[in-house]
């Protein structure tokens, strides 16, 4: 059935309709009056439901366009055996993911990246423009440590000594031994405090330690900073305790959340932070769309000037190309970034190239005195070699830039990836439209006057 160009054309027509539906703008308010009837509705792309598989069609915008924070955290692995590093990083990632979700960030992305000796966690938080707060949320190691004084004199209730890391030693209980933590208020003073519960293992340890330290101080450190050093009145064996300190409601709540989400198994520190305000992103989108439209218009005009009616056909194929590529971006959830848009526009230039190659061939074949019908078919056949070889190198380069295997020795930055993804998809789609679509359009519409 693909032999008949008219049938292929009908298929392409149906495809175009499907693509237009997929490419519908999001939350676009359509309002107009036609023949006295007023239409007013908000347009959205549809949701696909197929055999129980649902997909909401939408454009995912990168942080540079949507606004948000991008933070790269480097894990300090020097105290961790090299065989355990991978799993430590993974569990750190899980903890960070939980924390991020706790704070209600929409669609966060948390990824790990390992290369040679660096273990990193990349966190992307759309809509969070205060990077400092973001890091406070996710990077806080929240290392809770129960410490006892090293010398007995200092530990007695009477001789109060300010606890430091030097005059105390770990009692062997950390945040890992907690099962839950929540904000509560002191029954005596009404001050905010954090109520904690230990795991069964932690309960036993805590019971032992408090039993040993009755009448002595047990200091509680958070991230190496002493929070409080209450004196143990009696052994606590039910696994429940409260942490008091000079908390405000918010700090107590934050601490509870952090303790709840679990302490990071490995300390991390930020090595890269990028924040973009949503307004700047919106501006960039508007500018890119305008620039793209003007560039596209120029290209279309140029093709018509250069090739006449063939140019028009190429332009029609280009429209389908644009619809198709954008639909693929949406279906494959390609995150559009500024460089990504540049890659897309660049691939439009390359999509036209296939047509130019074919049309130039066509002109040559005509000059050799062949009738146009044969000339155009031969032009498609002969131009294919160069189109294939030429696009193949672009595919190689964009694959290397995209780095699908996540190889540590190649770049894996989001910006580079965004560009590579759109360029790659664009070039592959251009092979389809440049050959199949243009050819069908020509076969159906084009007739050379004899």
């Amino acid at each position: 059935m693909f032999k008949n160009p008219k049938r292929v054309f009908i298929l392409l027509f149906l495809l175009t309709i499907a693509l237009v539906i997929i490419d519908l703008p999001e939350n676009y308010r359509l309002k107009f009056t036609l023949f006295g009837r007023t239409v007013d509705r908000v347009i959205n792309p549809p949701t696909i439901r197929l055999f129980g598989w649902t997909k909401q069609i939408q454009t995912s915008l990168g942080l540079d366009l949507a606004g948000g924070s991008h933070v790269v955290l480097e894990a300090d692995m020097k105290d961790i055996k090299s065989s355990d590093r991978g799993s430590a990083l993974e569990s750190a990632k899980e903890v960070i993911e939980r924390r991020v979700n706790f704070f209600g960030v929409a669609e966060p992305v948390v990824q790990t990246s390992v290369s040679e000796n660096s273990y990193r966690i990349i966190v992307e938080l759309p809509g969070v423009s205060d990077v400092e707060r973001a890091i406070a949320l996710i990077g806080q190691t929240a290392l809770l440590d129960f410490r006892e004084f090293t010398t007995p004199e200092e530990a007695t209730a009477g001789a109060f000594t300010f606890p430091t890391l030097d005059n105390t030693k770990s009692a062997g209980i950390t945040g890992k031994d907690l099962s839950s933590a929540r904000l509560s208020f002191s029954q005596n003073t009404g001050e905010p405090e954090v109520a904690i519960e230990f795991t069964s293992d932690g309960t036993k340890k805590f019971g032992d330690v408090t039993g040993r330290l009755v009448g002595k101080a047990l200091a509680i450190f958070l991230d190496s900073v002493p929070l409080t050093a209450p004196v143990v009145q009696t052994a606590i064996t039910d696994g429940k305790a409260v942490i008091t300190g000079s908390f405000t409601r918010d700090t107590a709540k934050t601490l509870a959340l952090q303790l709840n989400a679990g302490a990071l198994p490995v300390p991390v520190r930020p090595v890269e932070e990028r924040t973009v305000e949503a307004t700047l992103g919106e501006e960039s989108v508007a500018k890119s769309i305008r620039a793209g439209a003007i560039g596209l218009g120029l290209v279309a005009l140029f093709m018509v000037l250069q090739y006449g009616r063939l140019g028009l056909i190429a332009d029609a194929a280009l429209v389908l190309y644009g619809l198709l590529t954008f639909a693929v971006f949406r279906l494959l959830n390609v995150t559009l970034t500024l460089p990504g848009i540049a890659g897309f526009l660049l691939s439009i230039g390359m999509a036209v190239d296939s047509n130019i190659l074919i049309f130039e061939r066509y002109k040559e074949e005509l000059r050799m005195g062949k009738p146009w019908g044969i000339a155009i078919e031969q032009a498609f056949g002969k131009a294919w070699d160069s189109i294939r070889d030429a696009n193949f190198t672009t595919i190689i380069t964009s694959l290397i830039l995209y780095n699908p295997g996540n190889w540590g020795f190649l770049p894996s930055s989001g910006m580079v990836r965004g560009f590579a993804a759109t360029l790659l998809i664009g070039v592959v789609m251009s092979l389809f439209t440049g050959i199949v679509v243009t050819r069908t359009y020509i076969r159906v519409f084009y007739k050379e006057r004899a």
Partner: protein, 293 residues
């Protein structure tokens, strides 16, 4: 048919004219690294009213921040680069800026990159480039069943990369343009572009060589170049239209990225007929001389 093969000296002259200042600048001044490479902090301020750059520098100095550069992008929008600074100091800077220039200042972009990442980016980019060049070389050698084509294409590619690097060294020196991650991307894309174009020309040469073995090689090259010239120009024009629109109308963030792509495209188009093909020709002549001698 145009006798392109007669003017090899002219092409060498043109390439030299473009390459020599660029290479000189590259050796003498190098490239201006952005915080992506050197590490540091970049702020983009949106001010309610334009503020002179001297004021910004002075205010920053008073807040104990030494600025590396201040750049105005659009009215009331400023890109400020400095060594890595912590949030409190930057908040202090915003407050003193607002006070001394009596404007409202908002940070719309805030980037901080640690120094390790920079070094890493450099080596990774280098690996990616080497990887891509060898993949392309292999592909061409395989597709054309001849290493000569591959080598000629890669030399043309190096030519284009040097043009891009050289121009950005000059831009850096005279316009303060920095090279960042996006530049690396443009650099690598130039590679694929350059080869894309060269292949179209080589494909024609291959076709004619197959068709008529007795034909003189320079003759073949001339025919191939004449026939592909129109296509090369048309194609470059379409891409150039697209990119020029992006440079003029697109955002500040991608401006120099697109300029790099633009230079890469122009050079890539030029190098296919005027660098890659002449190398093929010279190689052929040399070989012929050796076999006849």
């Amino acid at each position: 048919m145009i006798r392109f093969s007669k003017y090899l000296w002219l092409y060498a002259l043109i390439s030299g004219f473009v390459l020599i200042p660029g290479i000189y600048s590259l050796i003498r001044f190098g490239l201006k690294p952005s915080i992506d490479f050197s590490g540091g902090t970049l702020l983009e301020y949106r001010m309610s009213q334009p503020v002179s750059q001297a004021v910004i520098t002075d205010v920053a100095a008073a807040s104990g921040i030494a600025l590396i550069s201040v750049q105005q992008s659009g009215s009331g929008s400023y890109l400020i680069r400095m060594k890595q600074e912590e949030k409190p100091k930057i908040e202090g800077l915003t407050v003193s800026l607002e006070r001394s220039a009596s404007v409202t200042a908002t940070i719309v972009r805030h980037e901080t990159v640690g120094p390790i990442l920079g070094r890493e980016l450099l080596t990774k980019a280098l690996y990616a480039a080497l990887f891509a060049v060898s993949a392309i070389l292999l592909y061409i050698a395989w597709a054309f069943k001849n290493v000569r084509f591959g080598v000629a294409a890669v030399i043309a590619l190096l030519h284009d990369l040097l043009v891009v690097l050289g121009s950005f060294s000059l831009f850096g020196r005279f316009l303060g343009v920095e090279v960042d991650t996006l530049f690396v991307t443009a650099f690598l894309t130039t590679m694929s572009f350059s080869v894309h174009d060269t292949i179209v020309v080589f494909d024609r040469i291959r076709e004619y060589t197959k068709r008529d073995r007795s034909r003189h090689f320079s003759d073949i090259c001339d025919t191939a170049l004449t026939e592909t010239m129109n296509r090369s120009l048309t194609n470059s024009f379409t891409i150039i239209f697209m990119l020029v629109a992006l440079v003029l109308m697109g955002g500040e963030t991608t401006k120099w990225f697109v300029v790099a792509l633009l230079i890469g495209t122009v050079s890539g188009t030029y190098s296919s007929p005027f660098v890659a093909t002449p190398i093929l020709l010279l190689w052929h002549r040399l070989e012929k001389r050796r076999t006849t001698a």
